[in-house]
């Protein structure tokens, strides 16, 4: 969720409270991050981040710590603290790891481990150590390594300032890389050197713990050769052993994060990293005292006495500063004040950002504070509405809660729209249902439906909602008004036919959850998507079926024609005989029990799964006794038919299941 690294003083365990204090001292008391860059109030010696202090002082005109009145002109930069923080940040992770290491193994245990397990290894490493120029235990070399580190950290700082979004990532993630490089560059520059270095560092840690000397801590983190690390220049993930080469080639696959203004810097950095140059360059640039401090000579902006300015004058000032100059005076006033803060804070940085970036930041600031009510309203709209409904305490004061209530309104609106859409299109849906009724009479009606599908903008879910309602309505009316039974029976018949044909289709092509979930409702939406194939299956039945016993019933009902399948005939019969909903329920119950029997008794049957599905899907409410009759019809035909489409195969399964039942 959050793309930044969160560190705080509680990273250090309680027994190392002094580290907590130290960490806390280097943090801004306002934003609780490391000071970047440090500003101190000359009058009271209180300090903070440049931006935090400027913002507070311009807004409140007080020192945030002691509340004595303060002015932005009293702020003074303290670059010494910035340097300390840079080095500290780079080594913080290592200090933490060392603390953890120390916690796990007390000194005695380390010695034991040394004596037993790693004896041979250490010997190897030590010989390697001797063969290398790097002798980290020597004091002079140590300082050099530290110096190299500080140089690199300053370069990290350079990078960081050119990309605020990733500053923490660079500082924290590339930590190990830089250390490894600083050390490796002092000595052998082969790619293989990393390996040796790795081992050296292992020794290093142990040595430190043995002697209690922590002067070489920085070199303890060392990713293995095959591990992927972030390239400090282009932030790509690259294997450690390929990192040197990657940087020598000026980062071949550069990520879009680097803007053109950074390229020159990249070039400089990568060239400084090149194998041949790095050793002496490190020596030259390594001394933090000698390190050239880029003195920013840009004149800081002064806040204006807005009351004395007219709107047009202020607008002109904004235009001169090349920042957006729209809006009324109050907005421009706020924008100017914020820009002065941003600009002056930027001036405090060693490597200031471009004007364009500042304007972008200014725009984003404006967007958050004046356009959207909440910074998270866009990202977390769902959870927020969820929570606001859960904690519905009626206190909507803040920006956040107003955002959530907006979401609630949105949901309500959507529901309303759905309802109104359903109501306004009820006649259309009725028409569609009628058409489906006619389908059995006209084979080509399916094509008409398909065209009507295209005119139907609503999606499947909405249609389902509607059809749920509609089916309920029709059934209810059949209950209440027995005189209108005919109509409702028609509906039911249509429903059954649809569901049958639907499910036949799905069974043919592996029944999906969707098919099952739809079974209890009127199936029009699904049906319409599958019209073609389902119709074909009906045709197969049509040709072979002679409905004799039930054809009279059909005629009476004026629903089906002579070509209709035995399925449908039986359904009609069933519907007629049932006459009301309660009997249908009974049938369902009855059927369910038989289904269970089927399952238990036919474990050997290979088709048992399919049977289940077929039962679940297609013959839902059909009375078993009638189904058996039907199966007699179907059975004969299917046996006669040599080549059957998969759809009919599933029919066969039903029949087989029914047959077994018959035997029982």
């Amino acid at each position: 969720m959050f793309d930044f690294d969160l560190t705080d003083i509680y990273d250090f365990p309680e027994e190392y409270g002094s580290f907590r204090d130290f960490d806390n001292l280097l943090r801004c008391p306002i934003c609780k991050e490391f000071l970047n860059p440090t500003l101190i109030l000359t009058s009271c010696q209180h300090y903070g981040c440049s931006y935090c202090m400027r913002k507070t002082i311009t807004e409140m005109n007080i020192c945030p710590m002691c509340r004595h009145s303060a002015d932005a002109t009293e702020l003074q930069k303290v670059s010494l603290i910035d340097d300390i923080i840079k080095i500290y940040k780079n080594n913080r992770k290592i200090i933490l790891e060392l603390i953890e290491f120390k916690k796990k193994n007390n000194n005695n245990r380390i010695n034991n481990v040394l004596d037993t397990k790693q004896d041979s290894k250490i010997d190897n490493h030590k010989s390697e150590l001797d063969s290398k120029d790097i002798n980290l235990s020597d004091d002079g070399d140590t300082t050099m390594a530290t110096i190299a580190l500080s140089d690199i950290s300053s370069q990290v700082g350079t990078n960081e300032k050119n990309d605020t979004f990733l500053n923490d990532n660079i500082e924290q993630n590339s930590n190990g890389d830089f250390n490894s490089k600083s050390v490796s560059n002092n000595g052998n520059n082969d790619n293989d050197n990393n390996d040796n270095n790795n081992n050296n560092n292992n020794v290093d840690i142990i040595d430190n713990n043995q002697s209690g000397n922590s002067s070489h801590e920085f070199s303890s983190i060392q990713p293995s050769d095959d591990e992927f690390v972030q390239c400090p220049l282009c932030l790509q993930n690259i294997q450690v052993k390929r990192l040197n080469r990657h940087m020598d080639l000026n980062c071949p696959k550069e990520s879009p994060l680097n803007d053109p203004s950074n390229n020159s810097l990249n070039f400089f950095m990568s060239s400084s990293k090149s194998d041949n140059d790095s050793a002496w360059k490190n020596k030259i640039f390594s001394n933090p005292i000698v390190k050239p401090k880029i003195k920013n000579k840009t004149q800081k902006l002064r806040s204006l006495a807005y009351n004395l300015l007219t709107e047009s004058k202020l607008r002109k000032i904004l235009k001169d500063l090349k920042i957006p100059s729209h809006g009324d005076k109050i907005l421009m006033q706020k924008r100017h004040a914020e820009y002065v803060n941003i600009f002056n804070a930027n001036c405090d940085l060693d490597h200031p950002k471009s004007h364009q970036r500042l304007v972008e930041e200014l725009k984003r600031w404006e967007k958050i504070n004046f356009e959207t009510s909440s910074p998270f309203s866009k990202h977390n709209s769902f959870p927020k509405s969820f929570f606001s409904s859960r904690h519905n305490n009626g206190h909507n004061i803040s920006a956040n809660s107003s955002g959530s209530s907006q979401n609630d309104i949105d949901l309500e609106e959507i529901n309303k729209e759905h309802q109104s859409y359903l109501q306004s299109h009820k006649s259309d849906f009725d028409y569609l249902i009628k058409q489906i009724k006619k389908r059995e009479k006209k084979k080509d009606s399916s094509e008409d439906k398909e065209t009507s599908d295209k005119n139907e903008p609503e999606d499947l879910i909405d249609l389902d909602i509607f059809y749920d309602e509609h089916s309920h309505i029709s059934f209810n009316s059949s209950k209440e008004k027995p005189i209108k039974n005919n109509k409702s029976i028609k509906n039911k018949v249509v429903r059954k036919k649809q569901s049958d044909s639907d499910d036949e289709y799905y069974e043919g092509s592996k029944p999906s959850k969707k098919a099952r979930s739809h079974k209890t409702n009127v199936k029009t939406p699904t049906k319409r998507y599958n019209t073609r194939s389902s119709h074909i299956t009906l045709d197969i039945n049509d040709d072979k079926q002679n409905s004799e016993d039930f054809s009279n019933m059909k005629r009476n009902e004026e629903i089906s024609n002579n070509n209709s399948s035995s399925h449908n005939t039986i359904e009609v019969y069933e519907v007629l005989s049932s006459e009301n909903e309660s009997t249908e329920k009974n049938k369902e119950m009855n059927y369910d029990t038989k289904e269970h029997k089927n399952d238990t008794n036919n474990n050997d049957n290979n088709h048992i799964v399919e049977i289940k599905e077929v039962q679940n899907n297609s013959i839902d409410n059909i009375d078993i006794t009638k189904k058996v009759k039907e199966s007699n019809h179907n059975n004969e035909e299917i046996e006669n038919k040599s080549v059957e489409p998969p759809i009919v195969l599933s029919d066969e399964d039903v029949i087989m299941g029914d047959k077994i039942e018959q035997k029982e």
Binding site: M1, D8, P375, F376, N380, P383, S398
Partner: protein, 169 residues
């Protein structure tokens, strides 16, 4: 800076949350209502001892502005409260929650007001002390302040009733 500002607000809130979970002051529990929205916190404050609020557990909602910590959060009790410095709708009226710029009641010295170095922990602690020692000079709930001044027994009884209510009795 806005990106920075937002991320600093989030970072700051998360740091404070961590701080509160690691060494929470006695009688105070606070944390974000949801992990996805760090700008809304729920706090539980147990009534300070030797006061009529003793034994009660009072839920409150803290709502943080976008420019936190520059602006103070808003704190509201979600249970019924009878206190001179708590509005009848539950909103807490306490100087630490007021930015120094606007003083609606014209009595608070700027030393007690909000500053970016204050924290949730300090707010909740001052609310606890507010419960223990109501300030009847600048009441948010005038009736409660009157009762507190003139008829302390009745006030205490009334408070105890709300405590029982807050506990669900």
């Amino acid at each position: 800076m806005s990106f920075r500002q937002r991320s600093t607000t989030l970072k700051r809130l998360m740091t404070e949350y961590k701080e509160l979970t690691l060494n929470a002051p006695e009688g105070i529990i606070a944390g974000p209502v949801s992990e996805t929205d760090f700008f809304k916190w729920e706090a539980l404050i147990s009534g300070p001892e030797k006061t009529p609020y003793e034994g009660g557990i009072f839920p409150a909602i803290l709502t943080f502005p976008n420019d936190y910590p520059l602006s103070p959060p808003v704190m509201e009790f979600t249970c019924e409260m009878w206190h001179p410095n708590i509005y009848k709708n539950g909103k807490v009226c306490i100087s630490i929650l007021h930015a120094p710029g606007n003083d609606p009641n014209m009595y608070e010295s700027s030393n007690e007001r909000w500053s970016p170095v204050q924290s949730v922990e300090k707010i909740l602690l001052s609310v606890v002390s507010m419960l223990a020692e109501p300030n009847d000079e600048s009441p948010a709930n005038v009736d409660a302040a009157k009762m507190y001044r003139n008829n302390r027994e009745e006030f205490d009884n009334r408070v105890r009733k709300t405590v029982e209510k807050s506990l669900g009795f």
